[in-house]
């Protein structure tokens, strides 16, 4: 993405809007919504990480949340009363990212030569394995505290500055949710920056080439296995970082937060928004966090107003609407809400893929 001179003022206005956003949200919608905005940023980070794997390199990863879990548990175990360890954030976050990256390579190395759908199912299995271990590693040696999860996790703080306390600056009160907003915003922008830089680099081109036609990419001299592994590791690293931030922000982690449904949710953000397009992925992340929340808050009162009582459980109604929305949006815009202008069809339509496979077999037949 290149910004020309005319877009500079626009950019400045946009930046200013992002900076005051939490206060606007706070005054219009209330404090709880700033917290939701924080979570939205975390999810956007995750979605951007997954976008590298799915959107750029075209590898379908259904267990992405596992890397998030690795980051979160690393943070939780090294910064909570669980083991009485209270490592500083600058040590724990990178370590979580590194571990997630390590797991990414561990999983990717043997499996990345598999065809797309198989990769999907293997990653899905991996995600479940991680979750089951988190769930059960409380006996006979208690490591993860099992289903109860780990609580009283150290809040995020840097060099004596705690993000979980209210600070006053220029006569304005910055509460914990505001501070986390800025912290997460910073990280999100960093991830966006990295994604952009990668997208327009030699590596990014190699990823896209693999996505478009792996055989041709290989024949043009790209070491497809290594490049795919790189995408996987990068994605995992981002997942690990956001996991650590999540643990520190929420102060509590349990296996429940890392179910397959979460992986699916993040994948939906990427695909619904527009794979491979950073703006689209951000949009997807925002929508999928905000809309269900709005629905959760709105559905109960609305039913009260309409029927005088709660007819259906708002939570399941919310999920129902979510499911319906997924179906409708995909039917209406199969390439996502905001596909990259250049690449309307991110992954090959099915026929082309089948065709491709046929063609590999009989390069001559047609």
């Amino acid at each position: 993405m290149k910004f020309n001179h005319q877009s500079k003022p626009m950019l400045a206005a946009f930046a200013a809007a992002l900076l005051v956003l939490p206060f606007i949200i706070d005054s219009l919608l209330g404090h709880g919504w700033v917290r939701i905005a924080d979570f939205a940023l975390l999810y956007i980070m995750l979605a951007l990480g997954l976008n590298i794997v799915v959107g750029y390199a075209g590898l379908l990863d259904l267990g992405y949340i596992a890397f998030f879990a690795v980051g979160a548990y690393t943070y939780a175990l090294l910064g909570s009363p669980q083991f009485g360890l209270h490592w500083p954030i600058w040590a724990v976050l990178p370590l979580g990212a590194l571990l997630a990256c390590f797991f990414g390579v561990l999983l990717g190395a043997p499996t990345l030569r598999l065809r797309g759908d198989y990769l999907a199912i293997v990653t899905l299995g991996f995600g479940e394995i991680i979750r089951i271990f988190m769930n059960n590693l409380n006996a006979p040696v208690n490591i993860t505290n099992g289903p109860q999860g780990i609580s009283s996790i150290d809040p995020l703080s840097m060099g004596g500055f705690s993000f979980s306390k209210t600070h006053e600056l220029f006569g304005v009160d910055f509460t914990a949710v505001h501070l986390h907003y800025y912290l997460f915003l910073g990280f999100t922008l960093l991830v966006i920056f990295v994604s952009l830089r990668l997208q327009h680099s030699r590596i990014g081109r190699a990823w896209m080439a693999i996505r478009e036609d792996e055989v041709a990419a290989n024949a043009m001299g790209i070491n497809t296995r290594n490049i795919k592994l790189l995408a996987f590791a990068m994605g995992a690293t981002f997942g690990g970082i956001s996991g650590g931030l999540f643990a520190g922000f929420q102060g509590f982690v349990s296996p429940e937060s890392f179910s397959l449904m979460e992986s699916v949710m993040i994948l939906c953000m990427v695909v619904l928004g527009g794979m491979g397009n950073i703006a689209g992925v951000v949009l997807g992340g925002v929508l999928l966090v905000i809309l269900p929340e709005a629905f959760r808050h709105g559905a109960g009162p609305l039913q009260q107003a309409l029927f005088g009582k709660i007819v259906v459980d708002p939570e399941s109604l919310r999920m129902l609407m979510f499911g319906l929305a997924l179906i409708l949006v995909m039917l209406w815009r199969p390439a996502g809400l905001w596909p990259s202008t250049q690449r309307r069809r991110e992954l090959m339509p099915d026929e082309t893929v089948a065709q491709q496979e046929q063609d590999t077999v009989y390069d001559a037949a047609k």
Binding site: R202, E212, D213, G221, I222, L230, Q342, R343
Partner: protein, 258 residues
């Protein structure tokens, strides 16, 4: 360094089977540096299979081939590209949703080095390299005669342009051997003529060309030597005009598809 031998690619006794079908049986041939070598034969003769073997897409069952004085029995495609073999595909395989320019830039991948760190920091070396990649890619687009805006998506190019783009992408890897699988298939006479000129100038730049083609006129006018495959066997080899009169070849073509 020792004097490079005159032979660039040498196949000896190469066999490739698919189940009971011998797509290649004991094929031996050698290609000299700087020549245009034609490979012809009826449909299903095994020409593309031979390409797939020398570019590492298929592992050969028996025999060996050596390229540029190194012997390869089973080798990954990207290593062969690194060694200097580039190819095009019979049924065009471009990166359809990438621009023409990006397609060629991908070809530069194997001759460039910048990694994640360079991409993130945009350090001097990376920027210079990126510029060089883009510059060379533009050059190659012009060289093969694609005069569209370079940000046209590959899938939106005309058929002839797509074939040329594949050649540009292959040339971007700085090959010693350029292997072309039916590059003029589906082209009209003028397009064929200009592609012929392109191939000649590629050869004049010092790239050896291996050419599969059904167009006899093109083969006759372009190739220094020709080999004929039929049912996986090499049935003739030599100067085009000699091969053309070879009774075995005539029989293969008449029996095959006439």
């Amino acid at each position: 360094m020792t004097q490079p031998s005159e032979t660039l690619l040498e196949l000896s006794g190469v066999c490739k089977h698919f189940g009971g079908l011998a797509a290649l049986s004991a094929v031996s041939l050698h290609i000299k540096r700087g020549e245009i070598y034609g490979l012809i034969g009826p449909n299903g003769a095994g020409k593309t299979t031979l390409f797939n073997v020398i570019t590492g897409l298929y592992q050969l069952d028996e025999g060996t081939f050596s390229f540029d004085a190194n012997s390869y029995a089973c080798c990954k495609p990207h290593l062969l590209a690194q060694a200097g073999i580039a190819r095009t595909f019979q049924n065009i395989r471009l990166f359809a949703n990438m621009t023409a320019l990006e397609n060629v830039m991908v070809g530069r991948h194997v001759r460039t080095h910048s990694g994640i760190w360079g991409a993130l920091t945009h350090n001097r070396a990376t920027c210079a390299e990126e510029r060089a990649i883009a510059g060379r890619a533009h050059e190659l687009l012009r060289y093969v005669g694609i005069h569209r805006p370079s940000n046209t998506l590959a899938k939106n190019l005309s058929y002839g342009e797509q074939r040329r783009l594949e050649i540009a992408r292959a040339l971007a890897t700085e090959p010693k051997l350029l292997a072309l699988d039916e590059p003029v298939a589906g082209m009209n006479a003028t397009e064929t003529e200009s592609l012929k000129a392109l191939l000649q100038s590629i050869r004049n730049d010092g790239v050896t060309v291996l050419l599969i083609e059904h167009d006899v006129k093109l083969i006759m006018g372009l190739c220094d030597r020709v080999a004929v495959l039929d049912y996986g066997k090499k049935i003739a080899e030599g100067k085009p005009e000699d091969v053309r009169r070879d009774p075995a070849v005539i029989a293969a073509y008449l029996g095959g598809e006439a």
